[in-house]
Symmetry: C2
Subunit: 320 residues, 2 copies
């Protein structure tokens, strides 16, 4: 088929709009979507320093490339941040990919390790807590610690905002998941923008939220961008996988469904945000100083639990 814009050989068919794209116009289409998203929600202001969370996976690496390209025309700074959770055979590989891409683009790159800041790698935590298969799985520790460390890194590196590689599929899956769990409040706290900015919590932006996963993968392939496609060995989000599969099926049958769902979320979000994103004054964690609604933040609570259990294990081993 021929590109709907220029008549050259098409490399992609966007079923949701019935248009064919050649390589050049596909690139332009993806890039202009990202630009529009950034502009619509005023995600980046002139001169701001943006921390890009880069795992080495397709989404974050493509995000880094897109922002690096954008910065040539619109003056802002970027710095790449990689969180190393310490997952053998997985994260070590993807970190290399993140590093290579940052170097290629001439972007400052920093690696923050669970081991250095928390005291344990995720692998060690799983071993100590016997977390796999238990109610509190690896993802619970990892999610809390990753958010905590990203925020810490952002503060240390003095970035104004954190850019995350969440794509259209991630956004609508999250929307539907929370609706099906009755967790409407959560939907009002995250979204395309922040209704309430909390002191000490670095705002997060999602410039890829209008780009389908498929287009991100294709963008990487067509532009010879090296990405790591392996999946985390701890990932067990069965509920999300069910929702993902069904949404893909519905998108196939009714092209444009994901965009419609995103539009619904975008219309509902501001109403929820006003109701649920309360202007509470956050405290500072008594241990680490990071923002928390209580006295001690969840990351420190988890760290102390793991530490305590590690010491008990050592004790019982020494008693043998």
């Amino acid at each position: 088929m021929k590109c709907s814009k220029c008549g050259r050989e098409a490399v992609y068919f966007a079923k949701y709009e019935g248009k064919y794209y050649c390589h050049k116009h596909f690139n332009e289409m993806v890039e202009s979507k990202v630009k529009r998203t950034i502009r619509k929600y005023r995600m980046i202001k002139k001169g701001e320093r943006i921390g890009v969370a880069v795992s080495g996976g397709k989404d974050s690496v493509v995000l880094l490339h897109l922002l690096a390209k954008l910065r040539k025309k619109f003056p802002f700074e970027i710095v790449a941040i990689t969180i190393d959770e310490g997952i053998k055979g997985y994260r070590d590989k993807s970190i290399k990919v993140a590093k290579k891409n940052a170097e290629l683009l001439g972007v400052e790159h920093h690696i923050y390790r669970f081991k250095d800041y928390i005291g344990f790698t995720l692998d060690e935590t799983v071993e100590i807590m016997g977390a796999r298969g238990e109610r509190l799985g690896a993802c619970s520790y990892c999610g809390v610690w990753r958010r905590w460390l990203l925020n810490k890194a952002a503060e240390e590196l003095k970035v104004d905002k954190l850019a995350l590689g969440l794509n259209l599929d991630d956004e609508v899956q999250m929307f539907l998941m929370n609706l099906m769990r009755g967790d409407v409040a959560r939907l009002g706290r995250t979204g395309p923008y922040y209704e309430v900015i909390h002191e000490g919590l670095v705002p997060r932006i999602k410039p890829l939220r209008e780009v389908p996963e498929k287009e991100i993968v294709l963008y990487a392939v067509l532009n010879n961008i090296e990405v790591d496609l392996s999946e985390c060995p701890y990932a067990v989000e069965a509920f999300r996988a069910e929702i993902r599969d069904w949404l893909n099926e519905m998108e196939e049958k009714h092209p444009g469904t994901k965009y419609q769902l995103l539009r619904s979320y975008d219309k509902i979000f501001p109403l929820l945000a006003k109701t649920y994103a309360k202007k509470v004054k956050l405290n500072r964690c008594k241990i680490c100083g990071q923002p928390t609604s209580g006295e001690i933040c969840k990351a420190c609570q988890f760290r102390l639990q793991v530490k305590e259990r590690a010491e008990k294990l050592k004790f019982s081993l020494s008693q043998r």
Copy 2:
């Protein structure tokens, strides 16, 4: 298995709450759900006259029985209203069922026919407009005319509110359908209650909105309530069927999903209602006098279209 309340033989397992029910306690459970829904949204006030839309299908017939039972303890009036769209081999059968149930319960019963008020049965309309398979299907005419005639009946019979047999499954399917079409505004106009009451539009209540379809069918079976289970020959809601099937699958895997989805809707609804249920002053249709946002209501527009085409057809036949 034994009833979780009394230890007698159970007839039903409510997976979403992990409880078993005997016949007696199942009845109580369903009835108290309906009572709670009515109370929560103040659906019925003392002494009000409630028009129950009874097609003869399971939902509307069970609703009639439940309201008839409830009225023994709480003083309000009920009157059954059946719309006869004129669908041969389908509606004629279900009308008999509606009539029998109303008689059994000693409820005043009125039948309103498309033929009498619109001038055409639905079967005739389909024949005249060649509607089956075309863009404007039978359901478009039927939906508009049914709502119009129900409102007309409610006015003529001087009822305060119209009770509809929509159940939990209907509600959450509708919620998801509208989200996946990006039609958030519609979600703000219907809901568990009305944010804005328009003069001339009889308010509609849905006392069964917290009862799963499964429980309605079982209530009918256990209590020997005669219902018509046949499906409308014109029904072709493919999109709804896909959503229904998936929700049933998810409910099976994650019991309680439908209730969670309803809770999400109920939290979102008041916010949407404030935004989308505008207090516009409705006009009266210049032809029929029913409320409309324009000059001539949709029901009259459709009626005139069908009439015009019917006359043309007659003319072209007479020319042969």
